[in-house]
Structure formats: structure tokens, C-alpha cells
């Protein structure tokens, strides 16, 4: 390859290692700016809110002096940019302030509720992948067949159905009428506090401690909300899998493989599917990030004590520190998942280089 062609400007090309480093630095820089912006937005939201932050700390009957002291102690007399710097310092120390509702540091609260969301979203994504990928592949291979048509309908319904409503109807049918699953919350009261929380993931904790009764009960509680989240994830994953597969199946190497006389199963799963794996992983990472969002509404329906319930409960009682802390954590996870899928794509797929 001629260097002059690649470099019309005629500048010398830097060695590969340096180029990689520079690219990496640019990526990290972009990520840092995005995160800084994210924090700035939450900071601004905290500033424009109609609740006086000083009053919520000192109470309404505080004297003028106490109020002024608190005002200065909170740094509110400084310029906005300085305040933002203080805010950054606090956030970098995982100090999101104290929740009005629980009277505990928001970071502790979040650490306590987060595993519940993690467990739910992970199981949901698992359902979505296990059902969505094969469905998408079959729909692509048998394009126009009844499988393809029903996959399309399933996805369309998934895109159109309000998740909170599906949760309610699911609760009504599978819990209220059929009695197949446990109701809201993570456990029946009878099983509460038996398992000592280590990871915070009830299924894992109970299995590790050999409490199979708790495990079964926890599973009967998580299965419905996880299936509902999984349905949305499946709708998205199956559509994407289908369109990736269609693109591959139309390629010439697939024809070559068929002409060579390879069994159809091998052509589909090894040749075509092998080529979409990386794209698929990025889609799964994105759908996982989206489930965090779906979890807010689903958790409300199922009284699931996760980060979504935490944010909405805090919202309704104007507990701003908790709302913003939760927003930052969810936002950061969202950003990280996006970057992760981006990087994965760049590293694993030679076409992206």
C-alpha cells in the first residue's frame, strides 16, 4: 500500500503503537467529556429546582444566622462554576449527599438497592437473548414464512405496548387468576431475612447458602417481571438479528458455501451467524442498557426494591439528592455500556478497523 495515497497531506505516518495510543486517548477524552456533561446536566437540574436546598437542610424555623451559615457552608455563595467543582469533587468521592427520605447517604442507599435491579435486568436480558436470537435467525432464514410473520407481529406489539400496563395485566393473569407465580416484591414475607445478603442477588445468595426454599420463592417472584422485560429485549434483539442475518445470507460467500455442498445448518450457524456475532453483542449490550430504563416502570408495578423504585419514590417526596444520585448512576452505567459495545465492536470486528 502506497503511503502517499493514504496521506494526501504528505505527513509522515506515525508508528502503529502511537496511532493506537492516540486513538485510545481520543476515545477516553470523548468519554470523559460526555461524563462531565452528564454531571453538569444533573448539577443544573439540581440548581433550577424550586425547592430551596438550604431550607431542606436547616428546616423552616431556622434563624437568619443559621440559614446564612448553612448557605455559606454549602458553598452557595460561590460562583456557579466553583459550585460545580465542589459538586464534581463530591461525586468523585461517591458522595451524592444525604437522602431526605431514608436519612442515609444516597450512595449507601444505591449500593443497597442496585443488586435488585441488576438481577432483574440480567435475567431479562438472558430471556431476551435466548429467545430473540434463534427467533431472528429463523425469521431471516425462512423469510416470509409464518415464523417470520409472527416474529414481526411479536416485535411490533413489543414496540407498542406500555410496559407498565403489560406488567399489570401479567400480574392479573399469572398471579391473580392462575396463581402460577409469586406476586410483587422479591420474596414472600415468610421467606424474608432468612438469607444473609452477600452479593445482594437473591438467587445467587440463596443458592450459595443452600436455602433452596428461598431460591424457589425468589425465582417465582422474579420470573414474571424478568419475562416482561425479556419480552421487550426479545422484540429488539430478534429484529436486529433478522436484519443482520439477511445481510449475510445475501452475501456471495454463503452461495459459495452452499455450492461447496456444506449442510445448510453449517452454512447458517457457522458461516453466516459467525459473522454477525460481534454486531449481536453490541446490540445485546444496548438492549441491556435499555432495560435499565424499562426497569423503572416495571419495578414500580412489582414493588421491586431496585434503583427504579428508589428514584420514583424519591421523586414523589421531592428528595432531590436521591433523584440526582440515582440519575447519575443510571446515566454512568448507560454510558459505560455504550462505550463497551463500541470498543468491543472496534476490537473484535476487523471490518471496523
Amino acid at each position: 500500500m502506497a503511503i502517499a495515497e493514504d496521506n494526501p497531506g504528505g505527513r509522515r505516518r506515525s508508528p502503529p503503537l502511537l496511532r493506537h495510543l492516540r486513538k485510545g486517548a481520543a476515545t477516553i477524552g470523548a468519554v470523559l467529556i460526555t461524563m462531565l456533561g452528564l454531571l453538569f446536566v444533573t448539577f443544573l437540574i439540581g440548581r433550577v429546582m424550586p425547592v430551596d436546598p438550604v431550607l431542606s437542610v436547616v428546616g423552616e424555623r431556622a434563624s437568619k444566622e443559621v440559614y446564612d451559615d448553612a448557605f455559606r457552608a454549602m458553598g452557595l455563595d460561590k460562583p456557579v462554576l466553583v459550585q460545580f467543582a465542589y459538586y464534581l469533587r463530591d461525586v468523585l468521592h461517591f458522595d451524592f449527599g444525604t437522602s431526605l427520605l431514608t436519612a442515609r447517604p444516597v450512595s449507601e442507599d444505591i449500593a443497597r438497592v442496585f443488586p435488585a435491579t441488576f438481577e432483574l435486568a440480567t435475567l431479562g436480558t438472558l430471556f431476551g437473548v435466548v429467545l430473540g436470537v434463534p427467533l431472528g435467525v429463523i425469521a431471516a432464514v425462512r423469510r416470509g414464512s409464518w415464523v417470520d410473520q409472527s416474529a414481526r407481529v411479536v416485535a411490533l406489539i413489543g414496540y407498542s405496548m406500555p410496559i407498565f400496563w403489560l406488567g399489570l395485566v401479567g400480574l392479573l393473569i399469572f398471579y391473580g387468576i392462575l396463581g402460577w407465580v409469586g406476586g410483587p416484591r422479591r420474596l414472600d414475607i415468610f421467606y424474608q431475612d432468612i438469607v444473609e445478603p452477600r452479593t445482594g442477588l437473591l438467587l445467587l445468595d440463596s443458592a450459595l447458602q443452600g436455602e433452596w426454599g428461598v431460591f424457589r420463592n425468589a425465582f417465582s417472584h422474579i420470573i414474571l417481571p424478568a419475562s416482561i422485560l425479556g419480552y421487550y429485549s426479545m422484540a429488539y434483539i430478534s429484529r436486529m438479528t433478522r436484519s443482520f442475518m439477511l445481510e449475510q445470507l445475501g452475501a456471495e460467500y454463503v452461495i459459495t458455501a452452499r455450492v461447496k455442498g456444506l449442510p445448510e445448518r453449517r452454512v447458517i450457524w457457522r458461516h453466516a451467524f459467525g459473522n454477525i456475532k460481534v454486531q449481536l453483542i453490541t446490540v445485546i449490550a444496548l438492549s441491556y442498557a435499555n432495560l435499565l430504563e424499562g426497569a423503572v416502570l416495571t419495578e414500580t408495578i412489582f414493588s421491586w426494591p431496585g434503583i427504579g423504585s428508589y428514584i420514583t419514590t424519591a421523586l414523589l417526596s421531592a428528595d432531590m439528592a436521591a433523584v440526582l444520585g440515582g440519575t447519575i448512576v443510571v446515566g454512568l452505567i448507560f454510558v459505560l455500556l455504550n462505550i463497551f459495545s463500541d470498543l468491543l465492536y472496534k476490537f473484535l470486528d476487523p471490518r471496523a478497523k
Binding site: V41, F164, L168, E293, I311, M320
Partner: protein, 309 residues
């Protein structure tokens, strides 16, 4: 050009001609051809009919609704489906669910219309300016866009509502704030493809200022992709608005917003399922209609994406 000079031609021939006589005529021909293609898509037409019905219901609400949507009748609370006078039953305060759903159509349309006006216009503004100006302006505007894309939409909307206070207008604002970035991206991408083309250079040589180039020559070219995207996004907007309503952060209680109605019936879901289920069905139907229409319009207006998607 005028109708009188073409008396022997039917409207249809005039609309299908290969040799349009004016710019307006050419536009009409293109629009009619698009309409014919859309009409061939049964699912898209179904979506369109549902939305037209929704519009009619919203317009004629006072005449269609059998009862006052806010009138309470505590003696007849939680009546089941098919009760005489209350075909869809009554809620926990004895209000007629059908009437509330009919009036709720107005709120849904109000929210969707406002968001569909605010978000794409903001996105168009940001995207075209970024794309046309390039350089630092572009870098900064696109970074800001990325930051807003970095939040999960519903969570960001929640935070905004928390800061702004509850209510329909604030919900609209919060949803719009979270909805504009994709439009900015689209508008920027479109702008970049035109920016260096000859016709823009020609206009610039004629002395047109950037403002004129952007508003008169770039905006019209971005419209069709924005319209498709808006139609496809409507379903998401409805779901987001209903979600906020459901959480008690959108329209406030006596108002018959569908999401808030679902939330109201939530307490009785096991014994009186229809209170929540009926408004939920309405949300589902309307958002399905937007999805169907959006898919159809994408096939018509954007042949690149095709039917494979």
C-alpha cells in the same frame, strides 16, 4: 397550470403526469405518488385510519361521551363492563370510563402534537447549524447532543420533571428535552451531504447568507427524513407520556389522561381489572397505529431502508 386550461384532464391525470408544469405541480405529483404507494400498504392504512378515528374522537369528545368525564357518582363505583349506561364500567369514584377515555384522547393528541413540534424543530436547528458551520461549533453542539443521548430517556425526563414540577406542560417539556438529539444527528448528517454540493455553492456565489442558505435551502431537504423519524418516534413519545402519567408526574389526577387512569385502577387490578385495562388498551392501540404508519411511511419516503428492517 390552472385547472381551467386543462379541462379535459382529470385530477388523477394531472397528478400523475410525467411532465409537471410548475414547481408546485411537481410537488403535488410526488406527493400523490407517495400516497398511492402508502395506500397499497394495508397495515399502514390501518394505522392511518386508527389515527383519524382518534382525531375525530378527540374533536367530537363532548358529543360522543355519554357522561361528564369528571362527574363522580359514588353510588355506582367500580361497575363492571357492560353496565347499562356505562359500557366500559366505572372507576373507583364512579366516573364513566368510556367518557374519560374519549376525553383522554384530547390529552394524548395535545402531548404528541406539542412534542412533535418542539423536538424536531430544536433538533433541526442544532443539527443544521452544526453541520453547516462545521469546526468548533459543530464539535461543541455534537458533544452536547451526545451528552443528552447518554442518558436513558425516561430517567432524564424523570429528573427534569422533578426539577420543573409535575403537570402536562412540564411533561411535554421533559420529553422534548430528551427527544431532540436523534433529530439533530439526522439533520446534521443530511446537511453534511448537501453542504459542499454545487447548488449550495451557486447560491452562496449569488450572495446568500448562511441564515438564508440554512433556512431556505437546507431545511426543506431535511424534512422528509425528519418526518419519517417523527412518525416512528410518536409511539415512543406516547409511551413516555403515559409512563410519566402513570408515575403521577404527568397530567394530574382529575384529568383523564390514559397513563394516570391506568395508575388509578392499579389498586383494584385483581378484583376490578377493567379500570386499568381499558385505558391501557387505548394507549396500546394508538401507539401501534403510529408504529404501523411510521413503518409504511419509511417504505414510501425512504427507499434506502427498504422492507428488510
Amino acid at each position: 397550470m390552472s385547472r381551467t386550461s386543462q379541462d379535459r384532464q382529470t385530477w388523477r391525470q394531472w397528478l400523475l403526469t410525467d411532465t409537471p408544469t410548475s414547481r408546485a405541480h411537481a410537488r403535488a405529483v410526488a406527493a400523490y405518488n407517495g400516497w398511492l404507494r402508502l395506500r397499497a400498504n394495508h397495515m399502514a392504512m390501518l394505522g392511518l385510519y386508527i389515527l383519524l378515528a382518534l382525531l375525530l374522537v378527540a374533536l367530537l369528545a363532548p358529543w360522543l361521551a355519554p357522561h361528564d368525564p369528571l362527574a363522580q357518582d359514588l353510588a355506582n363505583r367500580l361497575q363492571p363492563l357492560g353496565t347499562p349506561g356505562h359500557p366500559l364500567g366505572t372507576d373507583s369514584l364512579g366516573r364513566d370510563i368510556l367518557s374519560r377515555m374519549i376525553y383522554g384522547a384530547r390529552i394524548t393528541l395535545y402531548i404528541v402534537t406539542l412534542v412533535a413540534l418542539i423536538a424536531p424543530i430544536v433538533g433541526l436547528l442544532v443539527g443544521t447549524v452544526a453541520g453547516y458551520a462545521g469546526g468548533w461549533t459543530d464539535a461543541i453542539l455534537m458533544r452536547v447532543t451526545d451528552i443528552f443521548l447518554a442518558f436513558p430517556r425516561l430517567v432524564l425526563a424523570l429528573a427534569f420533571v422533578a426539577a420543573l414540577g409535575t403537570g402536562i406542560e412540564n411533561a411535554v417539556l421533559a420529553i422534548s428535552i430528551t427527544a431532540w438529539p436523534p433529530y439533530a444527528r439526522i439533520a446534521r448528517a443530511e446537511t453534511l451531504t448537501f453542504r459542499n454540493s454545487d447548488f449550495i455553492a451557486a447560491i452562496r456565489l449569488q450572495g446568500a447568507r448562511p441564515l438564508r442558505i440554512i433556512t431556505r435551502h437546507i431545511w426543506p431537504l431535511c424534512l422528509s427524513s425528519l418526518i419519517i423519524r417523527v412518525t416512528l418516534d410518536m409511539a415512543g413519545i406516547i409511551l413516555a407520556a403515559a409512563g410519566l402519567g402513570f408515575l403521577g408526574l404527568g397530567a394530574q389526577p382529575p384529568s383523564p389522561e390514559w397513563g394516570a387512569m391506568v395508575a388509578e385502577g392499579r389498586k383494584f387490578i385483581l378484583d376490578h381489572w377493567w379500570v386499568s385495562t381499558m385505558p391501557g388498551l387505548a394507549i396500546f392501540t394508538v401507539s401501534l397505529a403510529f408504529n404501523l404508519l411510521g413503518d409504511g411511511m419509511r417504505d414510501v419516503l425512504d427507499p434506502r431502508e427498504g422492507k428488510s428492517g
